[in-house]
């Protein structure tokens, strides 16, 4: 009898931290705001935010959740964009197949980078991933020009979806909601992955790699899978980007894409789930507005980036979460 009582006592655990609950709610709030976004800002900008937010979240699977710095994410995004566009251009397939091809393209590059670099740490991983992404850029630019059209982007015909119902993607609002639904599903899938035993193991690697290895986790294979997931979601973002732009363009593969995703992620907060999403929205909104006034938008965005990072050292969302935590502490203990 007392033994039974004891087991009941021992089950009284509450595993979810306040951060996890806060992030979960924030995710739903952001997605709900996404429903009305095209009525607040221009439809193309809203679409662009969604695509790059997915890309930044995928990037942060490595940087924030696993602790791997990648400077080669343009490679995944570009591979996704080109794979998605080429199957439409040469194969005449539909949008859904194109998105599957985009995911496969991103995953393939992730396998390549993973096999070569998974055991490298810090700057070494960053450099190998950058080198491979640059290699892809130059391959697409010249040797594969026959298939990629090099500096002229690979242009797509107007697209529409017929399953499960007809969506005309040349209509800006339809395109936005099409992209939004896919991004929302991908965000939920990433949340699910991070809530899984695998996702928790990633946090363990980020927190203390030696200790998690000593606990018996196979670090190399876990990191490898993390790179694959990052490549898969980045590839999906690339496929959506090609549909949004109506083309796969060589600038997607340029190293600056890899740099900008780092800025967007850091701006939002790497140690959070929704930070990269929020960082992307702020970054693209600022860039879009500033570039309306000046061609030298990089300088102004750079200055604002520095100002924001000084104001929000943990990123915009990261710092808000931190402040909430500080406010909670006196009452909690």
């Amino acid at each position: 009898m007392s033994a039974k009582q004891k087991t009941q006592e021992t089950t009284s655990y509450k595993p979810y931290s306040w951060q996890a609950i806060l992030e979960f709610r924030a995710m739903w709030v952001v997605l709900a705001l996404g429903l009305v976004l095209p009525f607040v800002i221009s439809k193309p900008l809203a679409t662009e935010i969604m695509v790059y937010a997915l890309f930044a979240l995928a990037f942060n699977l490595l940087l924030g959740h696993t602790g791997i710095i990648s400077f080669g994410h343009a490679g995944y995004l570009g591979a996704g964009a080109y794979a998605g566009a080429m199957v439409v251009y040469y194969g005449g397939v539909g949008v859904w197949v194109s998105l599957l091809a985009a995911m496969a393209g991103g995953t393939l590059v992730a396998v390549l980078i993973g096999l070569l670099a998974v055991k490298r740490k810090g700057a070494y991983f960053a450099m190998i991933s950058l080198a491979i992404a640059q290699m892809l850029y130059f391959l697409a630019l010249s040797p594969f020009k026959r298939w990629t059209d090099g500096e002229d982007s690979l242009k797509l015909p107007p697209l529409s979806v017929d399953f499960p119902f007809h969506i005309d993607l040349s209509d800006q609002l339809s395109l936005y909601y099409f992209v939004f639904v896919i991004v929302a599903l991908a965000v939920l899938a990433q949340w699910r992955i991070l809530s899984s035993p695998f996702g928790h193991a990633l946090k363990g690697i980020r927190e203390n790699e030696d200790r998690i290895r000593a606990c018996g986790f196979d670090i190399t294979r876990i990191k490898f899978l993390s790179i694959i997931y990052s490549g898969l979601f980045s590839g999906l973002a690339g496929g959506l980007l090609a549909i949004y732009l109506g083309a796969a363009s060589i600038t997607i593969l340029f190293w600056m894409t890899s740099g900008i995703v780092v800025m967007q992620t850091v701006l939002g907060g790497t140690h959070t789930f929704m930070g990269p999403f929020i960082g992307t929205a702020v970054f693209l909104y600022l860039r879009n507005n500033i570039s309306n006034y000046t061609d030298r938008w990089e300088m102004w965005v750079g200055a604002m980036f520095m100002a924001l990072i000084l104001l929000f050292p943990e990123g915009i969302w990261g710092t808000i979460v931190q402040k909430i935590g500080e406010r909670r502490r006196p009452s909690a203990s």
Partner: protein, 252 residues
């Protein structure tokens, strides 16, 4: 014999950190390794846990040669060590620190099921937190714990991997004398209640004398003596190492 080392050596260049050490421990025993700083205690542990591979000699565990198995492979076999310098997951909760280690026995790659839906793991985590006296701290962030509590968490993480043999590297490092006494009792209790085989490293003889079944003394990488605590205390060579003639001017 549960675990055995035969003529094990680890050389770092010209330095023989561990030199020809034969060691063995039976199931359910608590054996301590003592020696002055730099005697090779931690290096010996790292050879057993798999962080280092031996220069010569072999390690056998449950009759199998594991000399070349990696650290995570040995952990999965049941050899787990704690760290002399506290090594926890600072930004995760106390509960999650232990749960993650417990999870290592069940799932690493499942990316869909919810991590907190494994009730067996959750229950086991709470049991361990109760064993090490941290059950009421479960929701706190690990970095907020006191030094002593972190040392207990360290042991809790190790216990969660369901070790057959537990290697404790100076578990009382940095503790006050009162905390040390308490921790020593806890270690003996774990050994008795959980039928754990424990190897304990200490540089402070007094900590281990009361709780060990046997004691091995290392000095400059070599085994100096191996016996019951009583006989070790009476051993003249051991006394010389610890009270060493060179130390006299300092102790005055």
């Amino acid at each position: 014999m549960l675990l055995q080392t035969k003529g094990i050596c680890k050389h770092f260049g010209g330095l023989k950190a561990v030199d020809q050490v034969d060691f063995s421990i039976e199931q359910g025993k608590l054996k301590s390794i003592i020696g002055p700083n730099g005697a090779g205690k931690t290096t010996f542990f790292n050879l057993v846990s798999g962080l280092y591979k031996p220069t010569h000699g072999q390690v056998t565990f449950q009759g199998k040669d594991v000399s070349h198995a990696s650290m995570n492979e040995r952990s999965q076999l049941g050899i787990t060590k704690t760290y002399q310098i506290t090594s926890i997951f600072p930004r995760l909760s106390v509960f999650e620190n232990v749960r993650l280690a417990a999870q290592s026995r069940v799932s690493m790659f499942n990316s869909w099921r919810k991590a907190y839906s494994y009730s067996a793991i959750n229950n086991r985590t709470m049991e361990i937190l109760e064993h090490v006296g941290l059950a009421d701290q479960q929701g706190r962030t690990a970095s907020e714990l006191s030094h002593g509590e972190k040392r207990y968490l360290e042991i809790g993480i190790a216990l969660a991997t369901e070790p057959t043999i537990l290697l404790l590297d100076e578990p009382t490092a940095g503790m006050s004398p009162a905390e040390t006494v308490e921790a020593t009792h806890l270690i003996r209790k774990l050994s008795n209640e959980l039928k754990l085989t424990i190897i304990l490293i200490e540089h402070d003889i007094s900590v281990v004398m009361g709780i060990s079944d046997e004691v091995m003394v290392l000095h400059e990488g070599k085994k100096l003596a191996e016996d019951t605590p009583e006989k070790i205390s009476a051993n003249e060579t051991v006394q010389n190492v610890y009270l060493g003639k060179g130390a006299e001017p300092c102790s005055r």
